[in-house]
Symmetry: C2
Subunit: 382 residues, 2 copies
């Protein structure tokens, strides 16, 4: 199966490209390299040193004999996207190629506008390219669990059966996203749902939880294949960030009370979920939604787990309840359904002390690369 | 009260600007004149000859002594918007300034992208300008009833009380819009709801039905004040389009079966609804939604009403069921709530034969201006 991975140089995209390549899929990557440029803009870095995409795919070929083709360009440039689609004629298009940091989208007006235009226009272009060039191609689009917000009812997978005034319908699940980034994903979801209905496009929207870890079997094969790892207040996410904080003797920065509960999954499950989606395509015209996470944790739960493992490794970490830079509920009901991927065969890699210890050990190797002033949050919602 | 009317040169904006000016509000208009440029692009025209905005406001001043200040520029240009906001320091900001044609947004990829970027970025900029310059300013934003689509349950005003698995919440009403234009309004609604929650902005989202008529007491004062009237397949809407078709001896173009039911209102009610919203501002932090229509009709109902009145005027009009260029349900449940504006004092101008006759008589004066090849729909959804 020919698969394009858009955003294939990124944190989720690169491990996915290698994993699928190893499984025998024929992989091409599109990336505009903007995530590396944002490191320059924010004066931040990946905790792990990362090779160029050119070197990555060369090493991959050397080690496995498998070729991953690469196209450097932007999904906002339709002529570029069209040429790639005509060249590749993909059967699946995995779309990771969006600005994916909530704090980045909240820096200021320009970053909010950039995030929404980049994400919405990129996805519109992908929809038109599929319609015009490869109408049967399966769009596998990364959404986020953050699209739902924290409603006071259980979160279903994309749709909700509603009974109202004696009548019934199955409607799109109401969305209450918490940043201009999360909003951009909600906009995408609505646009894709419409395109499926109008043009018989087949799409799977993967509402992904917070991803932790950095290694997969493939990234571990060689240092040149190493994945990026973000720890800063803008791109670093809970758990990974806590582990790195514990490694450098920094307090674990819990925002507010820490009762914020979210869905989480290991990066090894991310790559497997993409494979499951690709192997089980949506029907023509179907807009299918999977909630892609394996476990729910509160932020405070995670901080305590990390604190315990760090202590066993001889590292003392305090938990600091920072003033919350975001506007969000810090204590709330949260119960999200995630059975679609499990029913299709996902066997979750659960979060154990051992998993945390493994990440911590990788982190400790690179801890001198941490730029300390980037660790604290510096983007406020208000 | 100082009010900015963005899009104040347009079909709804211009009558609103005059009406509010007459009521004693201090009005400034922002417009980028793009609607006039689109006439050139589509080789279409307003059925009624319309004066330049400069001439319009000069005539208004001559007749009433009241000044309407004008600013020519684009909401996508934040520096421009900021200057206007600092100059005007408005207490309400009425936002009509969006690309508002569903068929226009469906012409091709470029028009879809233009519509969504123009509308979403313009509104994001307005939100940031309010936050930064006039945080207590009341945003009165034009949405559309088309955001809801045609669910199989009654349509409420913006929110829905949901009981699910034994728990309850009041959530944003699920949206199923039917074009990239309607989608852009859904994106706006989500962005505005978020800004209200984050920044304590006050906003009223007016989900407007299909507007018919062209005259208000103010537009009737002088030919220079005449409102534009669209009849073409791209910008002309049901009812107005049927009346014009009957005037020129064209079949009434019902798309498909004609069972498509929507909310409608007279332009005289549009201007009054804006006044009601302005007089009764949302609370700080409140995202308030009003469904702004007065009656529901199916497209076939309207065609028959027009046919009857036209016949009384000596005009024979046939009803033609064209192949539907859109993808939409042609027979469906439709029941939408619209009590919020009525509770605040709206006294609807209902659709009577006399109202149709009045529009028809105005139309007949200008019928030689019709460009016949523009009457039929030429944009297809698929």
């Amino acid at each position: 199966m020919r698969i394009i991975i858009a955003g294939g140089d990124g944190f989720c995209g690169w491990p996915t490209a290698m994993y699928l390549s190893k499984q025998g899929y024929d992989i091409a990557i599109i990336d505009n390299m903007v995530r590396r440029k944002i490191d320059d803009e924010l004066r931040s870095n990946s905790l792990t040193p990362i090779a160029s995409l050119e070197d990555r795919v060369a090493k991959w070929k050397e080690l496995t004999g498998k070729e991953i083709r690469t196209y450097t360009g932007d999904l906002q440039h339709f002529d570029f996207l069209k040429l790639v689609m005509e060249q590749e004629m993909p059967e699946a298009f995995v779309h990771f190629a969006e600005q994916r940091s909530a704090p980045y989208s909240m820096i200021d007006r320009e970053h909010a506008v950039y995030t929404q235009v980049n994400n919405v226009v990129g996805t519109l272009n992908v929809l038109y390219a599929i319609k015009e060039i490869v109408p049967a191609c399966h769009l596998i689009k990364l959404g986020t669990m953050g699209e739902y917000g924290t409603p006071n009812i259980p979160i279903e997978e994309g749709y909700l059966e509603i009974e109202h005034k004696g009548r019934k319908d199955r409607l799109p699940y109401p969305k209450q996203p918490g940043s201009y980034y999360h909003l951009s994903k909600v906009h995408d979801s609505h646009n894709i749902m419409f395109a499926c209905r109008m043009w018989d496009i087949r799409a799977t929207d993967l509402n992904q939880g917070v991803v932790y870890g950095l290694s997969t079997n493939e990234t571990d094969m060689d240092p040149v294949l190493t994945n990026r790892l973000d720890y800063d207040g803008v791109f670093g996410t809970a758990l990974n960030r806590f582990i790195i904080q514990s490694a450098i003797g920094h307090d674990l920065t819990v925002y507010g009370k820490g009762g914020q509960t979210r869905g989480f999954l290991h990066i090894k499950d991310t790559v497997r979920c993409i494979e499951i989606a690709a192997e089980n395509p949506a029907d023509l015209g179907e807009f299918r939604v999977f909630n892609q996470f394996t476990e729910q944790f509160s932020v405070m739960d995670l901080a305590k787990m990390v604190q315990k493992v760090a202590k066993e490794e001889g590292l003392d970490a305090e938990i600091a309840n920072l003033e919350n830079p975001r506007i969000e509920k810090e204590e709330h009901f949260y119960e999200a359904v995630n059975t679609n991927l499990l029913d299709l065969g996902l066997q979750p890699q659960l979060l154990t002390d051992e998993v945390i210890r493994n990440i911590l050990q990788t982190v400790l190797v690179h801890k001198d690369r941490v730029i300390k002033e980037n660790v604290l949050p510096n983007v406020k919602w208000k």
